[in-house]
């Protein structure tokens, strides 16, 4: 036991530590559920069966996970460059606007093989553009990106409401939503379910982000900027340009939430479709340790919580949707804010096991 602070092996860091965090969260949740007069094991069973018990529930779980992968990756890419992008919510919103506008303009003229890629590209471009403004302000004006990105969430929400209520609203519609998209823009989806091909796009994004971050010179420069900006400058990296690149990619990834929601599920532009996925992405990235594989797993967990939580509220009337948020919040607390809590214990255990 010469060095109890020795770093953990990679598998323990990526797999074991999050598992312990989840276990701690569930112990805490159990106590609260118990106080509410519900058997925690019954609740846990309902949650797991509700999320993974049937093809339909698995479909919804994966559909939610798709959104979390996009926003989790978005946060992670920026984070590797030392940038804290809290604007995923707004970038997702505007990304959806981009893909919606492209579809509304072209869906009557283009076949699916042309319409779908164009709409996906538009989502990425609009999301990137929305992230580029705070990035520019940070790079050239020194405005802190945490403040500007979060402000841009509100600007995005206001812009969307203005557009939906005054400009894009379908004629004769009671509710602020655009006209229906033509089927040429629909992504192939599971029958009667929200799961659609966006999941494939999300997995491709995971792979692409991994290649970008760890197998390209740009990714190397980006990570150097995150670790030590002065070293990055010394190595010849243009920090301003790199900030723009990182936030552009980040915003583009967040914008894909619009693809999943509008092209995959709603098939029209609606209000409020980002529904907090942008913010949850921060927790997903933290929990996934900013690695695409970890993010995919964390997103799956969040999907399970989202879908299973809804089923829980469905089955047990005393567990309200607010309770479900508490449960999700505790899991996030333990896996995000308190992520380092069990680390010293684990390190000691490992040191005991291999005293060399």
């Amino acid at each position: 036991m010469r060095n109890p602070r020795r770093p953990l092996p990679a598998w323990a860091d990526i797999v074991l530590l999050p598992l312990i965090n989840i276990a701690l969260a569930f112990v805490t949740v159990s106590i609260i559920v118990r106080i509410n007069g519900v058997d925690p094991f019954h609740a846990l069973r309902l949650l797991v069966v509700g999320a993974l018990g049937s093809p339909e529930s698995i479909g919804y779980t994966l559909y939610y996970a798709t959104n979390f992968i996009f926003t989790g990756l978005a946060v992670a890419v920026a984070f590797h460059g030392g940038l804290f992008n809290i604007g995923g919510e707004g970038q997702a919103y505007i990304g959806g606007l981009g893909c919606g506008l492209a579809i509304l303009a072209l869906d009557r003229y283009l076949p699916a093989w042309a319409m779908i890629p164009i709409a996906i590209l538009a989502a990425a471009l609009f999301g990137a553009a929305w992230a580029a403004v705070p990035a520019w302000l940070q790079a050239w004006r020194g405005s802190h990106i945490v403040i500007t990105t979060i402000m841009f969430n509100f600007v995005a929400a206001a812009l969307m409401v203005y557009l939906m209520v005054n400009v894009l609203i379908a004629p004769g519609s009671m509710t602020p939503q655009s006209r229906n998209f033509e089927p040429s823009s629909f992504l192939p989806a599971m029958q009667g379910n929200a799961l659609n091909l966006s999941l494939g796009l999300a997995l491709v994004c995971c792979l692409a982000v991994w290649i970008f971050l760890w197998r390209t010179p740009w990714g190397y420069a980006l990570r150097t900027m995150g670790h030590n900006p002065e070293a990055a400058v010394y190595a010849g990296t243009d920090l301003r340009r790199m900030t723009m690149v990182a936030m552009g990619i980040s915003g583009g990834l967040a914008g894909f939430v619009g693809v999943n929601e509008l092209m995959g599920v709603h098939h029209r532009i609606v209000l409020d479709f980002p529904a907090g996925y942008g913010f949850a992405g921060i927790a997903v990235a933290l929990m996934g340790r900013n690695h695409p594989l970890g993010i995919a797993l964390a997103a799956l967990l969040f999907g399970i919580l989202q879908q299973g939580g809804a089923e829980l509220a469905f089955e047990i009337p005393t567990i309200t949707r607010e309770m479900v948020v508490v449960i999700q919040g505790l899991v996030i607390l333990f896996s995000g804010a308190l992520v380092q809590l069990p680390r010293p214990w684990l390190q000691m255990l490992f040191a005991l096991r291999r005293p060399s």
Binding site: M160, V161, V165, T175, A310, A313, R321
Partner: protein
Amino acid sequence: MKGLLVSLIALVAMGSIAQAQTTLKPAIVYANGGKFDKSFNEGVSNGAKKFTDEIKIAVVDFEPSNETQFEQALRRFAQRGNDPIIAVGFSQAVALEKVGKEFPNTHFTIIDSVVKLPNVQSVVFKEHEGSFLVGVLAALASKSGKIGFVGGMDIPLIRRFQCGYEQGVKYANPSAEVIANMTGTTPAAWNDPGRGAELAKGQFDRGVDVVYAAAGNTGTGVLQAAKDRGKLAIGVDSNQNYLHPGTMLTSMIKRVDVAAYNSFKAMQGGSWRGDVSVLGLKEGGVDWAYDQYNEKLVPPEMKAKVEAAKADIIAGKITVHDYMSNNACK
């Protein structure tokens, strides 16, 4: 669920209900504001409660937390054999169009929007007519000639409230000025009493002495601010007069509770029809509230004028323009 089944079976055994009712398993999917918003959703909840108290049939419900869950919850209830199912709020229209087609034998009711399917009953309200009346009363009660309006989220439905209200104000006092604010552009605007109070105070500072809140739970802040400053306030959806007697001028009542109750009741009695009902003053769907809490604030001559306007609207002598008919207040 098990409890519900057991109680149903028990009721059947008691022979207190007819054969047709054994299959009645009503369900409600609430809007984003949640079941206990003291206003719109809670009205539906009260209607369901009244039905349960009377008929002894439990009503199950679900409070969605995002857009996708509307469709999911409606489908889940339909799959589980719940019937009829009430979808609360305009945001569920899209979801109901899909799910309604998938379950043609299930009966749905949507409140605040229209879905044209044979198995869907749509209930919408002429909020502009009720708002017109409280606008008339506001103009009569105002000494400064400046009238306030605080809306929730800036959407056509709330502009319809505002538009009807403005017409009522101008009808009673053509030189009156209406100062209007919307609370926000996100659904959080339905649930922000602090901001509601700030907006109301801002309006009071500009000389407003009567304010109308059409903002869900945000309205509770507006009504409180009016009480704190000794100004008059008008509540919405449910009768909120009792909240602050002395400063509550009136409330624009929207009988969502009756809509929910009637839907269940019609289903039980076998008279349920998939149609569109537009409930205005004439149908008793909207109204202004006059009770022991505000009778001191509304002298008989004021009351007479409002009642006269109400009679004229019902008789068709006054036409209140509906914002949503052309997305403009003219």
